[in-house]
Symmetry: C2
Subunit: 382 residues, 2 copies
């Protein structure tokens, strides 16, 4: 089944054009932590054409609150129109004149794929917290079904953050299918500190009285809680250095943004606060709170070695050439850990390259440092 679907975001307005959004539905999927779940729909977009051999595909995996809209051919030069726009298109690293580029919304997502905000066919109501716990491995297994459906026989996988976790998992899980893998700002497993930040955000969402155990009516979700979680997320996606450059202690300019709780500031307001309120409020208009709980948890739980005798055993499975991209100022996925992972793969006989983005922008640099990303991705041509 290939059909155009609407975003299943339960709150607010649509984030991006969905002109070319397609979907694929299959009956069910076995889950990593037991049981089967279905039906599963994956929403996806494609650019370029698959060749007859089915071996010129690139699968791109999005970040936590991203969607399948990685590229916008109608506005290819606008980085805000699609999240990896400057890297995708004719003559760009993910060259749509040569490659068949696919990006799908993850299993558990709220941009057209089946997730907590989808209607449970057995009840006619959103799954909410009755949605099963899905993992990075489950997301990859679901993508595998889509890839088969599209007739892809061999592929390159690339992604950053939770998308980078998926890229790594692809290389370990399906070594026979993956020709090259690009893991950006992701590691073998999150640090205790990253898990801790993640849990604070989730607690804020669940503290919001509008959360109601996850059974909020569409459009009436825990906006304040989700905005607070996003505020914290945005701090961890940046760096002390970047925030100092951008905000320092400057007071907020005219046009104050309401805080998530709509409470007045204690004393003056700082620009960094206005910025975070704005980011929090923006996410609320385009993202589902339960989805945030599930996807952020999948990041916490991911450990590439899970189910294998050791990390080395898992990494030894990789047969593709691998590019690991770390970011100097990333404190959520520290560059040293990305580099370590690349070195470990190489020590185990794999063909791994490590490139570090020299950026002050923290974790988010893979969505900002277009020149450096372009330069790093020349690796694809080597």
């Amino acid at each position: 089944m290939v059909a155009r679907v609407e975003h299943s975001v339960v709150t607010g307005t649509q984030p991006a054009p969905v002109n070319h959004l397609q979907s694929y539905t299959f009956d069910s999927l076995p889950l990593q932590y037991g049981g089967r779940f279905g039906p599963v729909t994956l929403a996806y977009e494609t650019w370029g054409r698959l060749n007859a051999a089915g071996d010129n595909a690139i699968l791109i995996a999005h970040a936590l609150t991203g969607s399948s809209h990685a590229h916008d051919p109608e506005h290819p030069d606008d980085p805000k129109a699609a999240w990896w726009n400057p890297l995708i298109g004719p003559g760009r690293p993910f060259d749509t004149s040569r490659y068949f580029v696919v990006c799908s919304n993850v299993l558990g997502g709220c941009y057209g794929s089946t997730g907590p905000s989808s209607i449970d066919p057995s009840t006619g109501r959103p799954y909410g917290m009755r949605f099963p716990l899905v993992t990075i491995r489950d997301m990859v297994h679901a993508q595998r079904r889509l890839i088969e459906h599209l007739g892809i026989r061999r592929l390159i996988v690339a992604g950053g953050s939770i998308g980078g976790q998926q890229a790594l998992e692809w290389a370990v899980c399906y070594p026979e299918l993956v020709e090259k893998v690009i893991v950006v700002a992701a590691t073998a497993a999150l640090t205790a500190q990253a898990i801790a930040f993640s849990e604070v955000g989730r607690q804020a969402i669940m503290l919001d009285p509008r959360w109601q155990g996850g059974d909020y009516p569409p459009g009436q979700g825990p906006d304040a809680g989700l905005a607070i979680a996003r505020m914290l997320g945005m701090i961890t996606y940046q760096s002390e250095e970047a925030m100092e450059l951008r905000f320092s202690r400057r007071p907020a300019r005219a046009g104050e943004v309401p805080s998530p709780t709509r409470t007045p500031s204690l004393g003056k307001r700082f620009d960094v606060e206005n910025y975070l309120y704005y980011q929090g409020n923006s996410l609320v208009r385009r993202f589902d709170a339960n989805t945030y709980l599930y996807l952020s948890r999948a990041m916490d739980l991911y450990d590439v070695s899970e189910g294998y005798p050791s990390l080395d055993t898992a990494l030894t499975r990789i047969r593709s050439r691998a590019l690991f991209i770390g970011i100097r100022s990333d404190f959520l996925f520290p560059a040293a850990r990305v580099r370590w992972l690349a070195e470990r793969v190489r020590a185990l006989g794999g063909e791994a390259t490590y490139v570090e983005l020299d950026s002050p922008h923290g974790h988010d640099a893979f969505l900002k440092e277009w020149e450096q990303m372009n330069a790093a991705l020349r690796w694809l041509e080597t």
Copy 2:
């Protein structure tokens, strides 16, 4: 007026023995941002004896959720009995056989001093959010009144974190009174990132439906919101390195602690989550939520240069010998910024020493690294 008072914490049990808690009440205090506020009571404890000249005093300023109970002569070897216990006592750096050591709960606090949880005499109800915005400078002005009341003519001031901000402010505000100053893990002003973390915590408190605009009945405050704020605070007081050493990705051991929102874990629970829940729940039993809002905001707003033509003008006022202690792994008050401050004071002709604690424990190291703190404080004898 010197009298024994009870802690004014509105929720839960007492944190520490209050045997020797005294208090001093004065009519009113002019506030930095305008107006006068009163009456003001400061709760305090003292150890050792003031000499006839009134010049052997050390004033110690506590951290955000601390109290006047810096030392416990009945349990002098238990660091948990009082927060700076191992540094205070006969033969220790803050030598009570030589010095008259004073520690007062800050203005705005909830351990006996007048703060948001105190009863407003004009209404018979807690001030709540009707409490005025108080600043580090106001806290220092209030302490000055106490110091005068005690007959102290010349003193040493020492503190960490918000206590370090107060120590710095003392040296700039009252150069004629301060003989030596010890500023631990504090800088001229918070970074944008630190303000951002702080605001996320406050939003979580105010999101809790039990906050009720600050007018919660005693004992029925926003426990979940405060616990979440504390969870976030605890992350920022540590470091990635320390949390990795202590928790890594270890699953929670037996005896699960309820999360602030009392929701079950999504999948397994990590030990770091259990730890943070425990820390959050613990603070709720001993601290007032509105007080957390006010004191954390005072930290954000503090800028030693405020009211002076420049930072240099402010720092040039310092006449005391100054010891600045930074912590290698502190990301809330980065060591580089503490060092910079010391170097600036020296460049302006002041007598400043910088010592860095080589600790993985982050901001909290000044409450943990007793050997290094002891070594650093030998400076007092030079």
